[in-house]
């Protein structure tokens, strides 16, 4: 690996050859370079490259969460290449054994370690070459301002003091050092800004510390900074411990003691007192970039890996790149330390120049990807002074892209009111129960369920409140009553309906405050943010950048439902829920394809009018997708609940469990579902919900054949079908959504890290070619930015990171912006009285449907859709035809006359036609008002009460008219300002409504 990179950097191997090899689809796994006698596998090269880049840059990344890609340990990157920091001369000075050296530092040798400078800044310090017994701090390790004392680690003791990134460590089965556990020393740069920043909380790399550690000076400091988040920090530490143990066990080394990365403990706490002084950060300049040729090479390699989906998670890589962009290299004023590193005082500075250079280049290269981020992120990027100074071109592109970006990450309009599940006599009255007793017990249970829910709403955020203590007994009492009455199926239905009602929308009520933040940033832009700094220090709660790999979570109300199931621990209930979830999921997977979305393909040729329809399709799709994801997550949660363990079981236990579990049928045949979906090209629906399901897997799950095959298939699918730059049958955003959720899945703890770079997983899998005759969902542009951000909330991390940089560049803080709770939330336009009236009308409409049988709503929506569409057709066939004819004639006549001015003529004809075109709206309105009631009357049950019937008719009229008029006004009459205004107002209404339907239905 190292050799290949080395030869590339020294131009012995042509970059084109390597890039082509990377681009070649899976079959050509090996690259042989005969003149060097090299054979390289892709699955080895890619992780090597990723690790290499991280190690090269880790010194600069003292802010934000670490972003280790989930790579199995492969041969360590060549330490001898120091493009980010070292002076040219240093490069060749290092020996060729860097790779091995990296894995050797252990045991006895360390014991000899007294004080040594691990060179907080220099690359060379990363590895300790023990071969000569020297504690080498190789190369230009810059200004290692902190002296790290290596204490002899006691055997078997977990070193929880590592505040630095969690190293992407593992064992390397094929490296020369195979017999030894690989070890990488992570330098622990104690920069002044470090303790101030919020602890990094990327779950793959959480910092952790033991109270008793020599770090105790830092811990309270952090504690005081992080304030209320100590709980989550604690949780994250637990997670990290788990993760760490897991990794350790995976290495499978016989010596437990050797599993712990021996990061030197820090004893120098001078920095603690240096938190406050203003940091002077180096301002990166393009002119100070060194090794630009080498960097360009790396950019090309790296970009290829990203473009070709060879990396596990493209957004993780993008995040890493943005971290590089925003990296800092603080100067120190400590005399003693300055003298220590005086000799290399430049390299740290250089480091930043090179990091930024590299980052900007990659961003340029990956511009298409970047351009799909939200407006706010784009703005922050465009206003980033480093981007401006390194690539004005990129800045301009970003500025332009801002205008195109539709996703202001705002919340959809959400009905603020949470409804209960309506009592429907058809399913809920006495005749649906086996006995009077069962009926009455269920009556009580419904009330208890809501009572518990209300209590949770009121108290769950209070400190010290515990779900099980407060509600556990009541819930369990209810379950035992249910068992005696046999009411599980009824309760399961109530439970699921309430779950869907409360949680289907995009993250209602979860982390309230994210949105104002976004708005604030959008409003103020970069300059304004600096001014917020002082405000920040008063009003604030810590607001960490956690990186793009948040672990699976149950945000908002989902938490209630999860905790309820856990407290109830009722196997009957779970079984009923499972049955019902499976059925609903599979139905969703089918239904949505049979109804509107599929039909648009066949009909969009003949009806271009379906422009507005597309919007509806998208909304329908997004509604189905979000629902399916919710259901799948809970199905996964319930299905794998019995197997969840807090720690990863040992290999033997795993093997037994696999043997045992492979005999029983899994709850859902995910393989078949996936294969079917690929064949029928509706992966854009299936893959995102499958990911949610699989994210709930227990530790053993991924090793069971069915899930292993599925994971492997997903992996292959991602590499083959989802390459973003290749414009094939799938739309960009569709692919991006899938790539993003898959990347996230592959990064979560229970998915083994070896999945990505081995053939073990892929050998069982194969991606069948999809049926060319089927026009599936995949080829329809169904995903928009809004949906992307809803499904991947972690994409918001880019914004946070960049905003942190902005606030940090003027502030002394560690560069993490904190959340401000704006008291002047009214800044967003105070809703006009008329708007609130409109909202009330919409609420009333929704409320009307709420207590009616679901079929009534379906009927109304269906009729409105058809009548509206017919109205448009009718107008096209009559009025529009006539108008076009008239217009043509007027144009011909006008042009025929002497001294005609074509543009004036055009304007006047347009104006005339436009007036006539307005007629179309009136006529379409009449059409809809006439036809809708007829259809509704025929379709609703004969017994429907007159009021309900009249209301249904009116709603149908309104919906149909709205649909017809919005199309007509957009397509016929928008030639004058007047009409544009009209169409705009109509569109506004429509958008509002559409949003509402999307969230409520």
């Amino acid at each position: 690996m190292a050799a290949l990179l080395e030869s590339l950097l020294s131009h012995k191997v042509d970059i084109i050859k390597v890039v082509d090899w990377l681009k070649s689809a899976g079959d050509e796994d090996k690259l042989s370079i005969s003149e060097l006698g090299l054979t390289v596998h892709k699955e080895e090269f890619v992780p090597f490259l990723l690790n290499f880049l991280r190690e090269q840059s880790s010194q600069a990344l003292t802010h934000g969460p670490a972003t280790p890609a989930k790579t199995p340990s492969r041969p360590r990157p060549a330490a001898q290449t120091h493009v980010f920091s070292e002076k040219r001369g240093c490069k060749s000075a290092s020996g060729g054994n860097g790779t091995r050296a990296a894995s050797r530092r252990r045991g006895g040798r360390k014991k000899s370690g007294g004080n040594m400078s691990l060179g907080g800044r220099g690359r060379g310090g990363h590895y300790i070459d023990e071969t000569g017994g020297r504690r080498s701090v190789r190369g230009g390790e810059g200004y290692g301002r902190i002296i790290e004392q290596v204490s002899p680690p006691s055997v078997g003791q977990l070193n929880f003091n590592n505040l630095e990134e969690f190293p992407p460590v593992g064992s390397s089965p094929i490296s020369p050092a195979a017999s030894k556990p690989t070890r990488r020393i992570n330098p622990t740069p104690v920069s002044a800004e470090r303790p101030r920043s919020k602890p990094k909380t990327c779950f793959t790399s959480t910092p952790f510390s033991k109270p008793s550690s020599p770090l105790s000076g830092v811990v309270p400091l952090e504690g005081s900074m992080t304030g209320g988040s100590s709980l989550s920090l604690q949780e994250e530490r637990e997670l990290l411990k788990k993760e760490k143990t897991k990794r350790a066990q995976q290495v499978g080394s016989p010596q437990p003691s050797s599993l712990e990365p021996c990061t030197p403990t820090k004893t120098v706490l001078k920095t603690g007192s240096k938190v406050t002084p203003e940091q002077q950060t180096t301002c990166p300049e393009p002119s100070k970039v060194t090794f630009s040729l080498e960097l360009d090479l790396l950019v090309e390699l790296y970009s290829t890996c990203i473009s070709e989906n060879l990396v596990p998670n493209i957004f993780l890589e993008l995040f890493f790149v943005m971290q590089l962009l925003t990296s800092r290299s603080p100067h120190t004023h400590d005399d003693e330390q300055e003298s220590l590193c005086a000799a290399h005082s430049h390299s740290g500075v250089q480091l930043v120049h090179n990091c930024v250079y590299f980052a900007v280049k990659v961003l340029e290269n990956q511009f298409q990807l970047v351009a799909h981020l939200d407006k706010c992120t784009l703005r922050l990027l465009a206003e980033n002074e480093r981007v401006a100074s390194f690539s004005p071109h990129l800045r301009d592109l970003l500025t332009q892209a801002q205008d195109k970006s539709t996703a202001k990450v705002t919340e959809l309009y959400l009905s603020t009111f949470i409804h209960s599940v309506p009592f429907q006599p058809d399913t809920d009255n006495r005749s649906n129960f086996s006995s009077d007793k069962a009926f009455h017990i269920f009556k009580k249970q419904r009330d208890i369920f809501y009572e518990v829910l209300r209590e949770w709403e009121d108290f769950h955020k209070e400190p010290g409140w515990n779900f099980d203590t407060a509600l556990g007994n009541r819930i369990r009492g209810m379950m035992s009553q249910m068992t005696s009455a046999g009411n599980h199926s009824h309760f399961a239905r109530l439970f699921l309906k309430q779950l869907i009602q409360m949680c289907k929308g995009p993250r209602v009520n979860s982390t309230s405050g994210d949105a104002p933040d976004a708005d604030l940033l959008g409003m103020l832009g970069a300059e304004g943010l600096g001014r917020l700094k002082r405000l920040e220090e008063r009003l604030i709660q810590p607001h960490g950048v956690v990186g793009p790999c948040s672990p699976p979570s149950f945000p908002g109300y989902q938490e209630f439902f999860r905790d309820f199931l856990q407290a109830a621990s009722c196997c009957q209930l779970n079984q009923h829920l499972q049955d019902s979830l499976c059925q609903q999921l599979l139905q969703l997977d089918e239904v949505s394809i049979l109804s509107p979305p599929a039909s648009i393909c066949e009909r969009d040729k003949e009806e271009e009018e379906e422009d507005g329809d597309m919007e509806q399709q998208k909304q329908r799709f997004s509604s189905v997708l979000l629902l399916a994801r919710l259901l799948a997550k809970f199905l996964g949660f319930i299905s794998f609940l019995p197997y969840q363990t807090s720690e990863k079981p040992s290999r033997e236990i795993q093997d037994t469990a696999i043997a045992l579990r492979s005999k029983s049928v899994p709850v859902l045949d995910v393989c078949a579902v996936l294969r079917n979906s690929i064949r029928r090209r509706h992966t854009i629906l299936t893959v995102p919900w499958l990911v949610e399901f699989l994210s709930m897997l227990d530790f053993i799950g991924p090793r069971l054949l069915c899930y292993r095959t599925t994971l492997g298939t997903l992996l292959l699918f991602a590499c083959r079908k989802l390459v973003l730059d290749r414009c094939e049958e799938m739309c960009y955003l569709n692919k991006l959504l899938m790539v993003s959720v898959l990347g996230w899945l592959f990064q979560i703890p229970v998915i083994p890290e070896d999945i990505f770079f081995t053939s073990e997983f892929t050998e069982v899998a194969k991606v069948e070619e999809s049926d060319i005759n089927v026009a599936g969902l995949d080829c329809i542009p169904l995903v928009d930015q809004q949906l992307l951000y809803t499904c991947c909330p972690f994409l918001g991390e880019f914004r946070k990171l960049l905003a942190a940089f902005v606030s940090g560049s003027t502030a002394k803080s560690g560069g993490i912006i904190r959340k401000i709770t704006p008291t002047s939330a009214e800044l967003k336009d105070t809703p006009a009285a008329h708007r609130s009236q409109q909202k009330l009308q919409v609420d009333l409409e929704q409320a009307f449907f709420h207590n009616q049988p679901p079929s009534l709503r379906r009927t109304v929506e269906f009729v409105a859709e058809r009548v509206g569409s017919n109205a448009v057709k009718h107008m096209k066939a009559t009025l529009v035809n006539e108008l076009v004819g008239r217009g043509e004639k007027m144009l011909r006549d006008g042009l025929g006359s002497p001294n005609s001015n074509p543009s004036k003529l055009n304007d006047s004809i347009c104006a005339q036609l436009c007036d006539a075109g307005l007629e179309a709206l009136a006529r379409a309105t009449r059409f809809c008002c006439e036809k809708s009631p007829e259809a509704i009357r025929i379709l609703l049950p004969h017994e429907t009460s007159p009021t309900v019937l009249a209301t249904s008719e009116n709603i149908t009229k309104r919906l149909a008219t709205e649909k017809a008029c919005s199309w007509l006004s957009a397509n016929i009459t928008d030639c004058s300002e007047n009409c544009q205004h009209l169409s705009q107002t109509l569109f506004c209404n429509k958008a509002d409504r559409a949003n509402i339907i999307c969230t409520v239905s």
Binding site: F417, D447, F449, Y450, L844, S945, T947, T951, R958, H981
Partner: protein, 307 residues
């Protein structure tokens, strides 16, 4: 009380602050359920409607009786009351001795009548008299075999404005009357609804007085159902109603409206955003789905409106 329905002066306060309520309660403690006392209360709080004051008094008196009833309902105490009644009735056959006894020992006259009648019937045939016999005799004292006791019981029940069959009857009638009133108001407003009887036949397990077929918005809050309460809403009764009725309605039909015709403690109206709205009268600010106006308007006119 009957005649007070809907007679409240429009300027009286029905929605009391907790402080005002407490002030009234403090006064009621000194009063007994007599007409004279009611007059005192009215004079003391002229700005409050009479029915509100009566309702508050009644609720407070009931609470007080609940607290003290056990003191009276002990065999030897009962026996001593009975003996006193016997001797005094013997001495003055026409005097309202039982009523006076009740007032003397601070017990509701109607309850005193029940205790004594119960004891009397036990003495007659030795066994425990059935509840229904007891109730029917209280309702219709002429059924009581003893003439003197019959007239004493009668005096007790008609002089008690908080307990007894007469009061029950009045309460029931008032409740019913308000429901009728509510239905009339709804019809007046052209709001169609299903009432309790209708809902029961459809098999609903919990039924508010009214379910609107098409929901409306009252003061900006969606309302699906309406419950009518012909009493004052104090903390205790409201809490009980919430647990036993209002939340159950919410759990089945969504947000709704409770009308406490005789007012309520204003602070209790704190669940509006959660879907329970309190009013002391039929609301005036009602918004309905207004398609009728929309459909008649052509797009042009809408357009002009926007501008």
């Amino acid at each position: 009380m009957l005649h007070t329905i809907d007679m409240k002066p429009t300027n009286t306060l029905m929605r009391l602050s907790r402080a005002e309520y407490k002030e009234i309660v403090r006064w009621t403690e000194k009063l007994r359920p007599t007409r004279r006392c009611m007059k005192i209360l009215k004079d003391k709080f002229p700005s409050h409607s009479q029915s509100t004051l009566l309702s508050i008094f009644s609720l407070e008196y009931q609470k007080w009786i609940k607290r003290t009833f056990s003191r009276h309902h002990v065999p030897d105490v009962i026996e001593s009351y009975y003996q006193r009644y016997l001797s005094e009735a013997k001495a003055q056959p026409t005097a309202p001795v039982l009523l006076e006894l009740a007032n003397e020992v601070d017990l509701s006259p109607a309850l005193m009548a029940r205790i004594i009648l119960d004891r009397f019937l036990q003495g007659q045939d030795g066994g425990m008299p059935s509840k229904s016999v007891l109730n029917s005799m209280l309702k219709e004292p002429s059924l009581i075999p003893d003439q003197i006791l019959a007239s004493n019981v009668y005096q007790c029940t008609i002089n008690d404005c908080c307990y007894g069959p007469l009061v029950d009857c009045i309460k029931h009638a008032i409740g019913h009357e308000h429901e009728v009133l509510l239905r009339e108001k709804l019809k007046e407003k052209n709001l169609s609804f299903l009432d309790e009887n209708h809902l029961r036949t459809m098999g609903y397990d919990k039924t508010p007085d009214i379910i609107l077929e098409v929901p409306v918005a009252v003061e900006g809050h969606i309302v699906h159902w309406i419950e009518s309460k012909a009493s004052f809403g104090d903390d205790q009764s409201h809490q009980t109603y919430l647990n036993e009725q209002f939340w159950s309605y919410w759990n089945r039909f969504g947000p709704g409206l409770v009308i406490y015709w005789y007012g309520f403690i204003g602070e209790l109206d704190c669940q509006r955003d959660r879907g329970i709205l309190l009013k002391d009268c039929f609301p005036t600010d009602i918004v309905t789905l207004c398609h009728a106006t929309q459909q008649d308007r052509s797009p042009e006119s809408q357009n002009k409106d926007k501008e």
